[in-house]
Amino acid sequence: MHEDMIRVEHLSKIFTTGFIGLGKRIVAVNDVSFNCKSGEVIGLIGESGSGKTTTARLILKLLAPTSGEIYFRGKSIWTMPNREYYRCVQGVFQDPYSSINPVYRVKHLFNNTSNLFREVPKNEASHRVKEVLELVHLKPEEVLEKHIDELSGGELQRILLANCLFVDPNVILTDEPTSMIDASMRVIVLNLIKELSEKHRKLIVFITHDISQAFYICDRMIVMYQGLIVEQGSAEDVVLNPQHPYTKRLISDVPKLKQKFKLSMED
C-alpha cells in the first residue's frame, strides 16, 4: 500500500495574547489539509504572515496545534518519540544565524548532530561530513575549523542544509533556504534540493515567498494567504494558469525577464 509520507488534516493554530489568552486571537493557520508523498517537492508559498512558517513549525513538532492532526507514514506524529521522529523529519530554518550556537565552530555542529543521530564510528562520521559539505559546494578543510561568525549568510545556509543531509532524513522542510545565497550559487542549491527528491526519493517541503524559485523546483504548490490554503495544484497549473485572484496578483507582480510591467503613469 502506498502511503502518504506526511498527511496534514484540518490543521489550525490560533495564537492568543494577554493574560490566560484573553487578549487578541490570531488565526495563523486555518483548517489546512494536504498530503505529500516521498520523492515530491512541495512548495508552500505565501507572503509574510500567510502562515507558511507556522505550518512548518507544527510539522516539526515545535508548536502544538490548536486543532487538527499531522500523520507521518500514517502515524500521528505526537505519538512518536522525538528522536525517532527527527531522524526521519528535519528542518532548515530561515535565519541561519539564530539556528546555530554562535560560539561553535562548524565541526562542533556536525559533532553534535553525529552524536545525536548516527551511532557510527568517528572516522566514518567525519568522512560523511566531508561528503555532505562537498554536496553543497563548500570546501570541508576551509569551513570546518571556522567559527559561525566568520561565515557569510549564504555559507551558513548551505552548512545547515549539509547538516540536515548528514542526518539523512526522509523528509526535509526548508524555510527560505536560499534567502542569503547569491543568484549564481542559488540555482546550484536548488538543483541539489531537486536532486534529493529525484534521486534519493526524499520528500521536500519547500517554504518560500519566492514563487520563481518554487516554480523552478516544485512538483506541486500550495498557496497560502492569511492562514488559509487558497490554491493548490501542480506547479505548472498554479503558475501558468492561476485560478484564485490572490495567486493571480502574486504571479503578475513578480518581475520577469522576458516581459516588463505595464507601467502606468497615472496614479
Partner: protein, 341 residues
C-alpha cells in the same frame, strides 16, 4: 559646466575606491567607469561583495574612512566632487545628488515623527536657505504626490508599513529635487506586490522630473529589468559589461553576465524546461586579487591570457562595453560572430 555637455549628469572615469584594513586594502571599486544622462535610469547589478554599494557611495563623494577614493575623477552635474571640501559636498548632497542607502526605511528614528525627521534632515544634511516651515509644506505636497496622505507626516515610523516607510524615505530624499538619485537595494525585504508598487514609484519620479535621473543598485536583475534603460554588471570590483537593458537581457556578451542572467529564476515557462547551471566557485578575495581577469577562476571560456593579463574595458558597439579577452584587441567583429554561433 563640463565641456558644455549639459546632458551628462554623472561622469565617472576609472574610479578606484579602496577600504583601508589592517592587512592592506580591499579593492572594492577598482577602475570603474560610468556615465549617467538626463532622464536616464541605470541599474548596477552584481552579487554580494562585488562592490556595487561601495561604487554608489563613491559616486556620491562619500569617502569616509575606511573607504578612500584612490584615483579617477567623478563629475557630478559639472562639479568634480573630489576637488571640493566636505562642507561643500554637503551643499551638493540633497540638491545635486541624493542617496537612499540600503535598509534606510528601517533606519528611521522610532521616537521621532516623520515631520520632525524632515526638519532634522533639513538642518543637518541639506544646507539650504529654505525655512523649516516651507520645507514641511513642500514635504506635505510631495507626500501627496507620491500617494501618501499628509497625515503620514504625523506618524511614527513604527506605525507605517514597509511600503509606506519606503515611500516616506523616497519623499524626504527627493525634497530638493536632486539631479541624481542613487537607490541601494530598494526592493529587498518587501512583499512582491509592494515591490512592484515601489518600482512603479521610482519610475514615476523620474518621468515626472521629480529627480533628474536615477541609479538603482540591486542584486535583483529581474526588478532592474522592469524600469532601467541601461545596466552595468559588476564582478569583484570591476565592471564586467555595460549595455542598454534590452540588449543585455537578450544578448549578454561577457561570460559572467551570461551565466548570471542564466541563473535568474522567474515564473516563466522556459525556466522549468531545462536545468539551470549557476556558477560554481566563489568570487576572489578583494584584498589580494590575482593579476589577470578576476573571473578567470570560474570562467568556462578561460584562456592562458586571462590568467596573466587584465582585459581592457572596451567599447564593442556604441554604448556597449565589455571587459573580456574573448572580445579583446582588434578581434571585435570576429568575437561577436563567435558569440552568435
Amino acid at each position: 559646466m563640463d565641456g558644455g555637455n549639459h546632458d551628462i549628469l554623472i561622469e565617472a572615469v576609472d574610479v578606484k575606491g579602496y577600504y583601508d584594513v589592517p592587512k592592506g586594502y580591499v579593492r572594492a571599486v577598482d577602475g570603474c567607469t560610468l556615465k549617467l544622462r538626463q532622464e536616464e535610469i541605470i541599474g548596477i547589478a552584481g552579487e554580494s561583495g562585488c562592490g556595487k554599494s561601495t561604487f554608489g557611495k563613491i559616486l556620491m563623494g562619500y569617502d569616509k574612512p575606511p573607504l578612500r577614493m584612490v584615483s579617477g575623477t567623478i563629475t557630478v552635474n559639472g562639479v568634480n566632487i573630489y576637488s571640493v571640501t566636505w562642507n561643500e559636498r554637503k551643499r551638493i548632497w540633497g540638491s545635486s545628488i541624493a542617496m537612499i542607502p540600503q535598509y534606510s526605511m528601517n533606519s528611521l528614528n522610532p521616537t521621532r515623527k516623520i515631520r520632525n525627521l524632515i526638519v532634522d534632515a533639513m538642518r543637518e544634511k541639506f544646507r539650504t536657505g529654505i525655512s523649516e516651515s516651507e520645507m514641511v509644506q513642500r514635504a506635505e505636497h510631495r507626500f501627496k504626490d507620491l500617494g501618501l496622505s499628509s497625515t503620514a507626516l504625523d506618524m511614527f515610523p513604527f506605525e507605517m508599513s514597509g511600503g509606506m516607510k519606503q515611500r516616506a524615505v523616497i519623499a524626504i530624499s527627493t525634497l530638493l529635487n536632486p539631479k541624481v538619485l542613487i537607490v541601494d537595494e530598494p526592493t529587498s525585504a518587501l512583499d512582491v506586490s509592494t515591490q512592484r508598487l515601489l518600482l512603479e514609484l521610482l519610475y514615476y519620479i523620474v518621468k515626472r522630473k521629480i529627480v533628474g535621473s536615477m541609479i538603482i543598485i540591486s542584486h535583483d536583475i529581474a526588478s532592474l529589468r522592469q524600469i532601467c534603460d541601461y545596466m552595468y554588471i559588476m564582478y569583484a570590483g570591476k565592471i564586467a559589461e555595460s549595455a542598454p537593458m534590452e540588449r543585455m537581457i537578450e544578448h549578454p556578451l561577457h561570460p559572467y553576465a551570461k551565466l548570471l542572467l542564466d541563473a535568474v529564476v522567474t515564473p516563466e515557462p522556459e525556466i522549468r524546461k531545462r536545468k539551470l547551471e549557476g556558477i560554481p566557485g566563489a568570487p576572489p578575495q578583494l584584498i589580494k586579487p590575482s593579476i589577470g581577469c578576476r573571473f578567470s577562476d570560474r570562467c568556462p571560456h578561460v584562456m592562458d591570457r586571462c590568467k596573466s593579463e587584465e582585459p581592457p574595458y572596451l567599447a564593442l558597439e556604441p554604448d556597449r562595453f565589455v571587459a573580456c579577452w574573448l572580445y579583446g584587441e582588434g578581434m571585435g567583429t570576429d568575437a561577436r560572430r563567435h558569440d552568435q554561433s
